[in-house]
């Protein structure tokens, strides 16, 4: 088997033509000045070439390759799920860079299509489709950890109808590079948990907002703290009614339905290929333990692929068991892959390097430590799986009396 074949599957259908169309387009366009973007900008590398990657978004838009899964009436390409799968696979196979527009395209866009007013849709969706405006998200707060409903950020309506925001969000990726941010804030003073929250859209570049990068263990700073001190949102930029913020926020998180995971997997596959290449070069391919771990990794890739296909085959209105396990599975697989990469590198891995394979694998090792933590830690994922997947009792909150039969 050659390296490139690790994720290959036999293609027999008429969809081959569509696949070829994308591959051709990528070959023609991810070249010239865009060539250096190949395989860049993924997790752990999100800071790479931000301006050029924004131009790349516009290149994609010009080709009609942004928001490919959105309905046509909202400016999307209206691709079927199978076609979306093919698009994301071919995009990643060609080394397409991490998408600067993914929060707009994957999160806030679909949320606006579902919950937004006609005016909001008209104002924001075309800019996302065109690669003209980029988005950041403001969910997590310091000291809240995985408890998303523990929102301390407040918003207060001004006499002129605008909402003034006060508080702090954390783990906001690409905040410096973005134009807008969506924020979950407490609009009913004294409310608790997921009640009394509202969902607001704010321009990021305004006096009341300051952004502080968080330095990560690998030295990068993909994430930020965002401070709101009197930042303002127009009244018409609240999505849903005041107090409906939680509903919008949860609906937004459910929008992620597995299609883009296939693109993520092509990226993972590419990382495994790097490891295989290094192991062949430095002779660790002869180590029986490394071989077992390589096989484990290969098996995990296969599992993720079939798991994603099960997600796509499943009932689109409910979260299937395969969807429930997916975050936990991929993030732990990826963290293990990072350790495997480093062990294959051996002593060479300990020294910072500019050699592309080594550099990429070191980034993988360090950045993948965040995978099992952000977007729901391992611990939260296991709670969810037990409670929603197996119907086991909920964890009691400390501020409520202990109840053992409190089924979800």
């Amino acid at each position: 088997m050659n390296d490139a074949a690790i994720m290959d599957v036999p293609q027999r259908s008429a969809e081959d033509r569509f696949r070829a169309e994308i591959a051709d387009w990528m070959r023609a366009h991810l070249s010239g000045r865009f060539a250096e973007l190949r395989h860049r900008g993924g997790p752990g590398d999100e800071e790479a070439f931000p301006e050029l990657r924004k131009e790349w978004e516009r290149e994609l838009a010009a080709g009609g390759w942004t928001c490919v899964g959105w309905p046509r009436e909202h400016g999307g390409r209206g691709l079927s799920i199978t076609q979306q799968v093919i698009f994301h696979e071919e995009y990643a196979r060609a080394g397409g860079p991490g998408r600067m527009g993914h929060i707009g395209e994957g999160l806030i866009g679909p949320a606006l299509i579902r919950f937004g007013s006609a005016a909001q849709q008209k104002r924001f969706l075309p800019e996302i489709v065109a690669g003209a405006e980029f988005w950041a998200q403001g969910y997590s707060e310091p000291n809240a950890g995985s408890d998303l409903a523990n929102v301390q950020t407040r918003c207060t309506q001004q006499p002129d109808g605008r909402w003034q925001v006060q508080g702090q969000k954390i783990w906001t990726s690409l905040a410096q590079e973005s134009d807008w941010i969506f924020v979950l804030a407490r609009s009913e003073p004294g409310s608790k948990g997921n009640k009394g929250l509202s969902f607001l859209l704010l321009p990021l570049r305004q006096p009341g907002i300051s952004i502080w990068p968080i330095r990560q263990l690998g030295g990068g700073a993909e994430f930020n703290e965002v401070f709101f001190d009197g930042a303002l949102a127009d009244n018409e930029h609240m999505v849903g009614a005041p107090g409906e913020g939680w509903k919008v926020a949860m609906g937004l998180l459910e929008a992620e339905r597995g299609v883009s995971t296939l693109g993520q997997q092509m990226h993972f596959s590419h990382e495994l290929e790097r490891i295989v290449r290094v192991a062949k070069q430095n002779g660790r391919e002869r180590d029986a333990q490394i071989r077992q771990r390589i096989a484990h990794a290969w098996i995990g890739l296969r599992v993720m692929r079939y798991n994603a296909l099960r997600m796509l085959a499943g009932d689109a209105t409910s979260l299937g068991r395969e969807a429930l396990i997916y975050k936990y599975y991929w993030s732990n697989w990826h963290r293990d892959l990072g350790k495997l990469a480093m062990d294959v590198l051996g002593a060479e891995g300990d020294v910072r390097s500019d050699e592309p394979d080594i550099r990429a694998l070191q980034q993988l090792f360090f950045f993948s430590r965040a995978d099992t933590i952000y977007a729901g830690t391992n611990e939260i994922q296991l709670n969810l799986i037990a409670e929603r997947g197996l119907g086991m009792p909920r964890e009691p909150r400390g501020d409520s009396p202990m109840t053992t039969n409190n089924k979800p």
Binding site: V9, L382, A386, L390
Partner: protein, 385 residues
């Protein structure tokens, strides 16, 4: 590739689940374990005769339903979940599978229609090598005698040999084929002269295994049943599929371990709380579910891959898909059975509760066609090739 199950497939799964819940509950399994043949003839009659499960994946031209590997894997999953004691795996997943993939036309005509009708039980040896039936490790020897053959040697482990009508036995020929000794497959009736079949007392009593000894068993020319050209590729394909079906069965077993555990912890109380309310118990059940769903993806994916693949294709890619599902299945089943015993607490290691039945099957099936380690080594070899 589309993993959406068709209405037919969903119906088969549903029907199997409901039939087996009735006929293969804990009491029925324990009664079959204690019986002389190891299975309930009446249940077998319904499975093979009325329900026609043996016909599921047999090609239509040989009287089967031709529903392919996905439907058969779904059946096996339910059988594993309910610990069905029956000569189904040997007849259908070993013998019929081999015949369809690697058998000569005459042998297929001879056996497949009767298997599909549920009138004939066949079996084949299970070997411990990950390198399939073609690796030349067969200990049987076949020598030409007149126009026919004479077979000698011992097969250490043949499932259901004591009740099968025919045994399909691979034997090394005194001829070279390339770098290897050539191998032939021979159909031997259970009552053949010179054939001794001795029952083995296994810890996992939900399946019967036998030691088979051949002392100058003479066979007619037509009892050599492998296809002249397709033999090797066919053997590799059928070995891959046998792994897949075993993995499906193991998936069902692992699921049952989780289901038993969730049910037990929901009712059992300790320190005034249900066990299920302890976060550590929840997380461990969740971890089981993660591994089981991963395995389910692997099995369904490999089955869909097998369904899409065709006879003429080189078997290597299919072999890797099935090795993946199989390695994962062996580990996952054992893990879940171990956790089921542990999370049942004191009753978990008693004879009376069911986790032990799954546990023994998990261990026994962990090395049927090579250990998970050996299969991973095979995958690594392909990745590094």
């Amino acid at each position: 590739m589309d993993l959406t199950l068709t209405d037919d497939q969903l119906m088969i799964r549903e029907a199997a689940q409901s039939f087996l819940a009735d006929t293969s509950d804990s009491a029925a399994v324990r009664s079959a374990m204690a019986s002389s043949t190891g299975f309930d003839a009446a249940v077998w009659q319904r499975i093979a005769g009325e329900l026609g499960w043996c016909a599921t994946a047999v090609p239509e031209q040989y009287g089967g339903l031709g529903l392919g590997p996905v439907a058969l894997a779904l059946l096996l999953e339910q059988m594993g979940r309910h610990l069905l004691c029956a000569p189904f795996f040997s007849t259908v997943c070993l013998a019929a599978n081999w015949l369809a993939e690697g058998g000569c036309d005459a042998s297929r005509q001879r056996f497949l229609p009767e298997i599909a009708e549920g009138k004939l039980r066949l079996t084949m040896p299970v070997n411990e090598s990950a390198n399939d039936w073609i690796d030349g490790k067969q200990v049987l020897r076949a020598r030409r005698e007149g126009a026919g053959w004479r077979l000698d040697g011992i097969c250490a482990r043949v499932p259901d040999a004591g009740t099968a009508d025919w045994l399909l036995l691979p034997a090394r020929l005194d001829e070279r084929s390339g770098q290897h000794w050539a191998t032939g497959m021979f159909a031997v009736p259970r009552n053949a002269s010179g054939l001794n079949i001795d029952a083995l007392e296994t810890w996992d009593a939900t399946r019967r295994f036998f030691r088979v000894e051949l002392n100058g068993v003479t066979l007619m020319p037509q009892q050599r049943v492998d296809h002249a050209h397709r033999g090797i590729d066919g053997a590799m394909r059928s070995a891959a599929l046998a792994r897949l079906y075993l993995a499906a069965e193991q998936l069902g077993g692992a699921q049952a371990c989780l289901d038993l555990t969730v049910a037990h912890t929901a009712t059992r109380k300790q320190f005034g709380r249900t066990l299920a309310s302890f976060q550590a118990v929840k997380h461990r059940c969740a971890e089981m579910m993660v591994r089981i769903e991963a395995l389910r993806s692997a099995v369904y994916g490999a089955a869909a891959y097998a369904a899409d693949s065709v006879h003429g294709e080189p078997p290597e890619a299919l072999a890797l898909e099935c090795a993946m599902a199989s390695a994962l299945a062996a580990d996952t089943y054992f893990y879940c059975a171990q956790e089921a015993i542990q999370l049942h607490g004191g009753v978990g290691f008693t004879w009376e509760y069911d986790p032990q039945l799954y546990f023994k099957r998990a261990q026994a099936s962990s090395h049927w066609f090579g250990t998970a380690d050996a299969l991973r080594e095979r995958i690594a070899a392909a990745v590094f090739a």
